[in-house]
């Protein structure tokens, strides 16, 4: 029994993510309040914003993934997507089990299919997606 517990303890102690891998995620997460503010300034109502954030949080999405999702949605609103649909597609994809980059890509593909948003592979215009300051020099 002691061997089993020792093995389990070793397994638990071995991190699957190396120290340092978390830095880009932390930098993305720092942008979440700014991106949400951008959504509000773009005309998305506070109740809709809160609903989206609650949904993301309830499903256990880390803040950096939430930031990716909100960024895609904000870009879509800037590109003409209806504000009252903010987060609607996201909720459905989350319900389907998508997370992380797969989720962000699904959102982007949906926007492309609707003729909204930026061309594939191009970063958001005028905005640095990593730095908290947000603006590309």
């Amino acid at each position: 029994m002691q061997r089993i517990l020792a093995f389990a303890a070793l397994f638990a102690a071995a991190p699957l993510v190396q120290v340092g891998d978390s830095v880009p995620a932390i930098l993305r997460a720092l942008r979440l309040p700014a991106l949400v503010t951008e959504a509000r300034l773009a005309g998305v109502t506070d109740s809709v914003v809160r609903e989206v954030l609650d949904g993301l949080r309830r499903r256990g999405l880390p803040a950096d993934e939430a930031a990716m999702v909100v960024r895609e949605e904000v870009d879509a609103v800037h590109a003409g997507a209806p504000k009252d649909n903010f987060g609607g597609f996201v909720q459905r994809q989350l319900d389907a089990g998508l997370r992380g980059r797969a989720l962000a890509e699904a959102i982007r593909a949906e926007h492309r299919a609707r003729g909204i948003g930026r061309p594939e592979g191009r970063p958001p215009q005028g905005r640095d997606t990593i730095r908290p300051g947000g603006r590309v020099p």
């Binding site: 993510v17 997460a29 309040p33």
Partner: protein, 97 residues
């Protein structure tokens, strides 16, 4: 019977170990319980200080969080809390931009 109990214990230990070590364990959903301080213990000023320190030295991000009493989960929770409050989110955004 003894062997059965051992296998059950082994399986349980593996499941617990996997749950503790997977990357998603840092996710916001599990955050509250894991953080040493809750997000409400931190102000926007704290969050801004953390953001500016990390921006200045991204490689030290983990230690900066720790110095402010934040785990990754607690940090995620803090970002969510600020984002959910329009006034706090605006104050944070203006301060870091």
């Amino acid at each position: 019977m003894n062997a059965r109990i051992r296998w059950l214990a082994f399986g349980t230990a593996l499941i617990l170990a996997a749950a503790c070590s997977r990357p998603g364990g840092e996710a916001a959903g599990e955050a509250g319980a894991a953080s040493s301080m809750t997000a409400t213990d931190h102000t926007v000023d704290d969050a801004v200080a953390v953001a500016q320190a990390i921006e200045a030295d991204p490689a030290a991000a983990d230690s900066i969080l720790a110095a402010h009493g934040l785990t990754r989960a607690g940090f995620d929770s803090l970002m969510y809390d600020i984002a959910a409050d329009s006034a706090l989110a605006r104050a944070y955004t203006e301060a870091i931009n």
